[in-house]
Symmetry: C2
Subunit: 110 residues, 2 copies
């Protein structure tokens, strides 16, 4: 028969995660971490975002399990917890391409 619906609870949890990465600043942070772990200061420098701002975003990303945290002296190193985030981005990009080519097709058909 039909596919199973998501429970309201799971629905909220999933939405929360998507919302977390549905934010340019956080996505930018994750994208920067794509190349390897970074300290907060490095992230501030590379993203151009404010320090407190980066710190807050990192807290959220860490709480939701998107990044890992490693303390070493004065520095705190953050890294992407699991590459599946990028898989998500790739699929979303694939969607974009599909959209774009569909739009091209529509335009061409005139």
């Amino acid at each position: 028969m039909g596919t199973i619906r998501l429970t309201p609870e799971l629905l909220h949890i999933i939405a929360e995660r998507f919302k977390a990465i549905g934010e340019p600043a956080r996505l930018q942070i994750l994208d920067t971490l794509r190349e390897g772990e970074r300290t907060v200061t490095e992230l501030v420098d590379e993203t151009g975002l404010g320090q407190g701002n980066v710190s807050k975003h990192l807290q959220l990303l860490h709480t939701l399990g998107f990044v890992t945290r490693r303390k070493e002296g004065l520095h705190v190193y953050y890294a992407v917890a699991d590459r599946s985030v990028f898989k998500l981005c790739d699929i979303m990009c694939g969607r974009l391409e599909a959209e774009t080519s569909a739009r091209r097709k529509v335009l061409a058909a005139r």
Copy 2:
């Protein structure tokens, strides 16, 4: 060498999409559409959301290319534009499972 960074523009576009599905109501609508196309009224009934509310969410989902729209008399039928949305959910769920089992491991290790 390192991976290519996303352009700020693409970053915003992708974030916008994730944000769109990072909303319980919209995710619920998409989940309902998983079983096939639905009219607005049907979606209202099956989700329990308000009519105007559903309509507005559908506008957004349609603008971003997540759903298609088909007009037939008084009714407007909406459907999922491409199943990749569910793929995204599956991956996100996979992440959740990984998280949960990791947490279990931590708890067990005490």
